[in-house]
Amino acid sequence: MRVGANLIAGIGLSVFFLALAGVSLVWTPYDVTLLVVGDRLQPPSQAHWLGTDHFGRDILSMIMVGARTSIAVALIAVGVGVIFGVPLGLFAAAMRGSLADEIVMRGNDLVFAFPALVIAILITAIFGPGAVNAIIAIGIFNIPVFARVARGAALSVWTREFIMAARLSGKGSAHISFEHILPNIANTLIVQATIQFSLGILAEAGLAYVGLGAQPPQPSWGRMLAEAQTMIALAPHVAIIPGLTIVLMVLGLNLFGDGLRDYLDPRLRERRP
């Protein structure tokens, strides 16, 4: 199996940002809770590699700490989607053609029909803004995504003959779903998870832009971008750096997902030996 350039670049970028987040737990160049108004909006320099923001905080440190929030929000939202969506999809696939399947899938369609951002804003309006509610808002829309993907992939596995072999061995639908179906749709789910992960990062940024993401003093990339947007004429780097960070992280995750799909999908592998 050949590891594609996409996969390498994707892993490189994703790991880089994950590492930044990890390092920030023990060390950052500066304390991000320290607001030194006198040092504000400095361009990149030796002291501050990426400059300082409107409160005089070191942008590199902010990016590092912010990575934690952005990644955590997106990742947990993916987790919400997987934990609720995948069993739902597996259930629907196991009950394929039945009323239960129909209800699950129609319910999915219905959630899809709601404008996601509007509902996210409503959720934060009800529960108040914050990282946790951002996770809920993004996570809710991940559920039908995973349910649909899991069901679709599971349906095609259900038609395989080894499922009949398992049934001949006296195994029930639930047993088969977890023993045989789940491992065989894991690739698809993992690839979908990386896509949802990257969408989650973008969604967090979008929510933060309208003031509904992580709350101060907790830095997040989206919040940095939102607060810096008015400074763009004054100190462009303040707005451009977090923007680029988001682009690179999302790009990295997408490349990772794409590369992973190419790597895992035997059909593609045969297509490009």
Partner: protein, 481 residues
């Protein structure tokens, strides 16, 4: 249209203006809502009252030429201008005055400032041009109260529809409202007074600070009377096309504290909080230098202002010592922040950091206005909040026991009572200063700074208010050079 295209630009004097406003009014009836944006569009342009605020905050006659006060101070007789009519052609008479005030005072009134009419017992039209207001008790400040946007005169015919198609007596009349985008008004050719010099004005609503900057730079908007992004004001000012005009407003920005709730019921804790706050850093960090430090709840440009900032000078050591002395142990406080991005959100973040520096664990809770109103303002369920009180001369709120920060000390109420009754200017000044001292010395709230009126406008525009004694965009005297 063709003529306009062929006109030589250098000689053509523009007669229209696009005014940028941050908030869109929910509706346009100033007598039925509190939103500042209603007055920012309509006050002095569409609607007029018996009296009005001048550009410097002075109370000037408007629809009333003059007024007499009876000996006992219980009867005000207003003499009205002749030949005034509403935009729909109905003539304006004293009956309209009676109608407007009676409606605002009524049981089912939805006037947001019903309190302004509280001293009034009745209003009658003596004749078409004479309105007589009878008070329950002597009240010296009535002309001030009647200058508010909430006290403008409306016609009984159109009172119900003023929300969407306002009809007043002002120099401009309403043309069109594109909800979510803009409101257009045009010159009223039948205006009773000096006609406006502009033919047309468009109010465009832009709540996003960076969009506001872009709109100015792209000259989509000619002026922002209250420019929402002080950080880019200097850039615009440096541009030869624009000039920044910094003036004063009636907005006292305070860190309000819940005086009812422990540990904030302890004056030592409140005092400690005020010493923890570095006003200069706050004004610099949140407002990019625009704003005047205040030490009490009073506008610094007012003649009666006393500078009491010394009482709460920045002194973190003192702050820690006071906390120690109060003996309340480690404190955790929630800081509720309403939406305004500069003073509230940015300022709040700085204040939280400053409080944390003296050992007060401060948790920020961002809120929408509706939530802030319900939880903080009505529910009084909060510890700290940052808010700008933009009503003119509103120190009286400290006399209300049930107000959200909950002061209402008896000695303060006594001062207010006397103030309401007295008409002697010197005595009034003395009383106002006593009131300022009382709330500063009792550290009711932490007084931060007076909001500056940060206007940006095209260099060729003349006649806009430099200061904001009330929330208004008076276009009466505006013209292009």
């Amino acid at each position: 249209m063709l003529a306009a295209l062929w006109a030589i630009p250098a000689l053509a004097q523009r007669t229209d203006i696009v005014v940028g406003l941050v908030l869109e009014p929910p509706h346009l009836d100033p007598t039925a809502g509190a939103a500042a944006a209603i007055d920012e569009v309509g006050y002095a342009n569409i609607f007029e009252g018996l009296t009005r605020f001048g550009p410097d905050g002075a109370i000037l006659p408007a629809l009333a030429r003059s007024w007499d006060i009876s000996e006992d101070g219980l009867t005000y007789t207003f003499h009205l201008h002749e030949g005034v009519s509403f935009h729909d052609g109905t003539p304006f008479t004293a009956n309209d005055v009676a109608f407007s005030f009676t409606r605002a005072m009524a049981e089912d009134s939805v006037n947001a400032q019903k309190g302004l009419f509280e001293p009034i017992a009745s209003v009658e039209a003596a004749d078409d041009l004479t309105a007589v207001v009878t008070l329950d008790y002597p009240y010296g400040n009535l002309p001030f109260n009647l200058a508010w946007g909430d006290a403008v005169i409306v016609s009984s015919q159109t009172a119900q529809t003023n929300t969407t198609s306002p009809v007043g007596t002002g120099p401009f009349r309403f043309v069109r409202w594109t909800q979510g985008d803009s409101i257009v008004i045009e010159r009223n050719p039948d205006y009773w007074g000096e006609p406006a010099r502009l033919e047309r004005a468009t109010f465009r609503f832009i709540d996003d600070p960076s969009a506001a900057f872009a709109a100015m730079m792209a000259e989509d908007v000619d002026t922002f009377p209250i420019y929402p992004a002080p950080e880019t004001l200097a850039i615009l000012d440096a541009d030869p096309r624009f000039v920044a005009v910094i003036g004063s407003t009636e907005g006292e920005t305070i860190l309000a504290m819940n005086n009812r709730r422990a540990p904030l019921d302890n004056i030592l804790v409140r005092q400690a909080i005020t010493h923890a706050i570095d006003r200069q850093a706050l004004i610099e960090g949140a407002m990019f230098g625009y704003g005047t430090p205040i030490g009490t709840h009073f506008a610094p440009h007012h003649p009666a202002y006393v500078d009491l900032t010394g009482l709460s000078a920045y002194d973190p050591d003192r702050s820690r010592a006071l906390l120690e002395e109060a003996g309340v142990g480690p404190i955790t406080l929630a800081l509720a922040l309403p939406p305004p991005p500069t003073y509230a959100r940015r300022g709040g973040e700085l204040i939280a950091a400053q409080l944390r520096a003296v050992g007060i664990d401060t948790r920020i809770v961002n809120m929408e206005w509706s939530q802030w109103l319900e939880q903080v303002f009505s529910g009084k369920d909060f510890d700290l909040t940052v808010i700008s009180h933009t009503e003119p001369m509103d120190i009286e709120i400290y006399g209300r026991e049930d107000y959200y920060f909950g002061y209402g000390a008896p000695q303060f109420q006594a001062i207010m009572e006397e103030l309401n009754l007295s008409v002697d200017p010197d005595r009034r000044t003395e009383l106002l200063q006593a009131a300022q001292r009382d709330i500063a010395e009792n550290y009711v709230n932490a007084y931060l700074f007076q909001l500056a009126k940060t206007a940006i406008q095209h260099v060729d525009i003349e006649g806009l208010w430099a200061n904001a004694p009330t929330q208004a965009t008076d276009l009466t005297a505006v013209y292009w050079r």
